[in-house]
């Protein structure tokens, strides 16, 4: 077993998770409370930094071409372009979130549990994208879901967090039952659970096509709960707004996209239905965009607004993938993966910037209140960095031209027009109009921060620390640089897009 390949990327976070937890349980006789909290933070951050080494090594050896297989005893991992792409997204966001949490979570009860669960969640997400077996995919998925329930309900003394955690658990568990039912149908039809072998087995004539279509529908609904396809989204705004800010960034930037990858992997095993899945994905995408935008318009809490905007951004990603599946345009898939990355960057930045403002205005004054939109008034006077980062993230999400969000939306838009299909072109125009509509709730926030007198909450705010400022600076630079040079991500997204087309046999 070698740690310098993709397995190391999974094993390092998973093994360091209990170590960090145990470090946090050291008795006060050996170490002071302050020192213990410091030890936990540094250990968690170093563990994730260490995980970058196997990542760099596996990118170099694979160079994103073809599929490589690894095993941890009897569990087989299949690493391809999509696995590496998602692993990179998760690792980048995870590192920044752990750095950010250093001050944000300092002194919370159960700080060590937070880092232990977060590291476990990161390791499990990276494992999920490399799963080579349908049932293993479910196991990774369920384990990741369990750690995310606990993180959502982390502030257990607050009733709203508990409610959000409970809702998330019940809906997600019901979804995973449906996924398992689909797996049982596939097992009965194909006689194997290895993804590559299923594809061969179900292309024979002895299988019942209708049963397979049913299994695909079960996968779509079951994983759809995690992706927050619109009628199944009701857990999302609660969970994203009640979780600690770092976790909101993780949930929105990584967890729902990982759910999407799980769904695509499961659907890809059932060959011959690519057109149906493509049309369904586009339908859900359009619904998500419209519903997310309309609901975001009437929110009063900032994090809840961002949660609804996640719904609409999942919609853009689904549209890109749907175009690739139904019309065979690879550019659509590349655009979708580019948008996955950009959304991770921008929404992560938005949640972290809101977290920074909450840290300065509430947490430092000993309160756990939620940030309302009116609290933002004049925030730029006291927190110029956080306000600038938040504005960049919002304008990027709204798709203003020289920022990252515009580039990926444009790529999907161009792919849609390449299909020369009237329906898809109508959808693209719908998407562009919705992108403009979304500025209707992003722009007032920017206006509020820069053009109003500072509210009393802002005036009473405390300064930010460097661990909070650094992730904001890094991600803001990312949003700007990718806006001017979108080609920087091509080597990553093109490989993922190609792998996506191969997966569905296009």
């Amino acid at each position: 077993m070698e740690l310098l390949n993709f397995t190391g990327l999974i094993i390092i976070p998973l093994v360091s998770s209990p170590v960090v937890y145990l470090a946090g349980r050291l008795g006060t006789r050996e170490i002071t409370l302050r020192g213990r909290s410091y030890l936990v933070r540094v250990a968690a951050f170093l563990a994730l930094l260490a995980a970058w080494v196997p990542f760099a090594a596996s990118v170099r050896t694979l160079f994103l071409d073809g599929t490589q297989e690894f095993n941890v005893s009897t569990i087989w991992l299949r690493v391809d372009g999509i696995s590496l792409f998602m692993a990179g997204c998760v690792l980048l966001l995870g590192t920044l979130v752990i750095l950010f949490s250093g001050s944000y979570m300092a002194g919370e009860v159960g700080e060590e549990k937070y880092y232990a669960m977060l590291l476990a969640m990161i390791g499990l997400m990276i494992g999920l994208v490399a799963a080579g077996d349908l049932f293993n995919l479910w196991v990774w998925f369920e384990a990741m879901a369990i750690s995310s329930y606990l993180l959502v309900a982390f502030y257990r003394e607050q009733s709203a967090s508990l409610e959000a955690g409970m809702k998330y658990l019940v809906q997600s568990a019901a979804g995973s039952v449906l996924v398992l039912m689909g797996i049982a149908i596939v097992l009965a039809q194909a006689g194997t659970l290895d993804m590559a072998q299923i594809t061969e087995a179900v292309s024979g004539s002895a299988v019942n096509r209708l049963a397979l279509l049913g299994a695909g529908a079960l996968f779509m609904i079951g994983f759809g709960v995690k992706v927050a396809l619109v009628p199944l989204h009701t857990w999302l705004p609660d969970a994203h707004s009640q979780a600690p800010s770092g976790i909101s960034a993780m949930l929105s930037g990584a967890v729902i996209e990982i759910g999407l990858i799980a769904m695509l992997r499961a659907l890809a095993t059932l060959t011959g239905f690519a057109l149906s899945w493509g049309i369904l994905l586009m339908g859900f995408g359009a619904l998500n965009i419209l519903y997310g935008n309309l609901l975001a318009l009437r929110q009063t809490f900032v994090k809840r607004l961002l949660a609804y905007s996640s719904l609409s951004h999942v919609g853009y990603i689904l549209l890109g993938l749907g175009i690739a599946l139904s019309a065979g345009i690879e550019l659509g898939a590349q655009g979708a993966f580019f948008h996955v990355f950009n959304h991770m960057l921008m929404k992560g930045l938005a949640f972290l910037a809101v977290g920074a403002l909450m840290y300065g205005m509430f947490l430092q004054n000993g309160s756990h209140r939620a940030l309302k939109i009116e609290h933002l008034a004049g925030a730029a006077q006291k927190y110029p960095l956080a306000a600038l980062a938040f504005s960049l993230a919002l304008l990027g999400l709204g798709g203003l031209p020289p920022l990252a969000g515009f580039m990926s939306k444009w790529q999907i838009f161009v792919a849609g027009f390449q299909t020369q299909n009237a329906w898809i072109i109508v959808l693209m125009i719908f998407m562009a109009l919705n992108s403009v509509l979304s500025l209707g709730y992003y722009a007032p926030l920017v206006n509020l921060m820069y053009r109003r007198e500072a509210s009393p909450k802002v005036a009473a705010g405390k300064p930010l620390t460097w661990t909070i400022a650094l992730p904001l600076i890094v991600m803001s630079l990312g949003v700007i640089v990718l806006g001017f040079f979108p080609g920087l991500m091509d080597w990553f997204t093109v490989a993922a897009g190609r792998q996506f087309m191969q997966m569905f046999g296009k």
């Binding site: 049932f135 196991v139 369920e142 384990a143 369990i146 329930y149 606990l150 309900a153 257990r156 003394e157 607050q158 009733s159 709203a160 508990l162 409610e163 959000a164 955690g165 409970m166 658990l169 019940v170 568990a173 019901a174 039952v177 398992l180 039912m181 797996i183 049982a184 149908i185 097992l187 009965a188 039809q189 194909a190 006689g191 194997t192 659970l193 705004p237 609660d238 707004s241 009640q242 609901l295 009437r298 929110q299 809840r304």
Partner: protein
């Protein structure tokens, strides 16, 4: 013959799924919600064993079923732990009375 062993198991799967989905719709008590999720999972475990038998890979079906039992127990434990906390904070387990987050 309608009452072959395989058919009886199939009826079991369908029956448990029906009870579970109906229960999920009407249950108002959080502990009962967790129990209903358990009923649904039991249906799936039966279905996995049945699928293994039907496809001639009984071992594969049984090993997946055993893994599901483990994974699902953890979900139940977390669910019940959250329910205990909910009872402490809200003083009730009634689902409509703990739904405060809306819109």
């Amino acid at each position: 013959m309608i009452f072959t062993p395989l058919n009886i198991i199939l009826f079991g799967v369908v029956g448990l799924l029906g009870v579970g989905l109906y229960g999920l719709l009407i249950t108002r008590n959080l502990i009962k919600v967790v129990m209903v999720l358990q009923i649904l999972i039991k249906a799936v475990i039966l279905a996995l064993v049945l699928a293994g038998k039907l496809s001639g890979h009984l071992g594969l079906g049984q090993s997946t079923a055993a893994t599901v039992i483990v994974a699902d127990t953890i979900v139940a434990v977390v669910g019940l732990a959250l329910a205990v906390q909910v009872r402490r904070r809200f003083g009730t387990l009634d689902v409509p009375r703990i739904s405060t987050l809306r819109g």
